[in-house]
């Protein structure tokens, strides 16, 4: 079922829940991996995903189809993840703990990390990027999204996204060089 059919089903009286469950079934996995690559931890990604889906459910009556459903849901999930990361940094700041160190420990101890040592080091480097650069890098590098698509989701110009990706790419190379 495509997005238009799902939305039409959602607008039918008494079928909202069923339609939304289909939307969740269709998109939850993709959204989860997007969030997981931004946060690193499964528990955090799970919380963010569920909150994003519940928010999408609450906001769906106001969805005017000015963007695609998937883009819209992606935007909600990305914003939710960015808010979460900001809060985590603030929490770490007020508890006088080193956020970067916390993230590195989390990667080391993650029971749901299946990559090799190179991937672990690479993940640590990605987690050192500023949040917004990490979002752009993840979308482009892992999800191989087009800049136009990322621009639609993040509401940033293609030029700014290209610059952001370039900076992130350079930073990761520098971090990796230092870590060797």
């Amino acid at each position: 079922m495509d997005d238009n059919e799902l939305l039409a089903l959602y607008r039918e009286q008494g079928r909202e829940n069923y339609a939304f469950n289909l939307i969740v079934e269709k998109y939850s996995e993709r959204l989860y991996w997007h969030i997981r690559k931004l946060t690193g931890s499964h528990e955090d990604a799970n919380d963010i995903l569920q909150n994003s889906l519940v928010k999408a459910w609450g906001a769906l009556p106001q969805f005017r189809e000015e963007s695609r459903l998937y883009t819209w849901m992606y935007r909600i999930a990305t914003n939710e993840a960015l808010t979460f990361l900001k809060r985590s940094k603030l929490r770490a700041f007020f508890s006088l703990s080193d956020y970067t160190k916390q993230v590195e420990n989390q990667i080391e101890a993650d029971p749901f990390f299946n990559g090799d040592e190179a991937q672990r080091i690479f993940r640590k480097a990605i987690m050192k990027l500023p949040d917004k650069q990490r979002v752009v890098f993840t979308m482009r590098y892992y999800e191989e999204m087009k800049y136009e698509e990322i621009s639609e989701i993040l509401g940033t110009s293609v030029g700014a996204l290209k610059a952001s990706y370039h900076h992130a790419y350079q930073k990761i190379q520098d971090i990796l060089r230092e870590s060797v």
């Binding site: 829940n17 939304f20 469950n21 969740v24 079934e25 939850s28 996995e29 989860y32 991996w33 997981r36 690559k37 499964h42 799970n46 995903l49 569920q50 889906l53 519940v54 459910w57 609450g58 993650d110 749901f112 990390f113 299946n114 990559g115 090799d116 190179a118 991937q119 672990r120 080091i121 690479f122 993940r123 590098y141 892992y142 790419y169 990761i172 190379q173 990796l176 060089r177 870590s179 060797v180």
Partner: protein, 142 residues
């Protein structure tokens, strides 16, 4: 070693994460449950929020009327005779006709020669007191 960290290495693009078994099914069920509870809250939300507050407000209103009614019933009204006497007496007090302090009764002229001429006859005093007992009683309450 450097080659190991070549960002363009396709191996690095692979997803290194996993999830617990049956996780995505669990998420769907959990979200479905949460949106159902959101539905229930939105249907009953206004009444469930307003109900305790309305009960509180109405109980305050009832208590107010009970207290107000009790005061109205048991407090003396403005035109009752007792109040009339009191207010008229207080007028006397205000104007200085009734002076009841110790100083008022003290005979300043007692030591003077003419004081004897102003002596009040005891019979006259008792008669006065018996005739004006209510005014004196009220004045002593001041």
């Amino acid at each position: 070693m450097k080659k190991k960290f070549d960002i363009d290495n396709p191996k690095l693009r692979e997803n290194p994460f996993t999830v617990p078994d049956g996780y995505f099914l669990e998420v769907r069920n959990s979200v479905s449950e949460r949106i159902s509870s959101v539905n229930r809250e939105s249907h009953t939300g206004v009444w469930s929020i307003a109900k305790p507050q309305l009960i509180l407000v109405s109980s305050f209103v009832i208590i107010f009327f009970i207290v107000y009614g009790a005061f109205s019933l048991f407090s003396p009204s403005d035109n009752s005779p007792e109040v009339t006497i009191l207010s008229s007496n207080s007028q006397y007090l205000d104007e200085g006709f009734l002076r009841t302090s110790f100083v008022d009764f003290f005979d300043f002229e007692g030591d003077t020669v003419i004081s004897a001429e102003h002596k009040i006859d005891s019979v006259e005093l008792i008669t006065y007191i018996s005739e004006n007992i209510d005014i004196i009683t009220l004045a002593s309450l001041e």
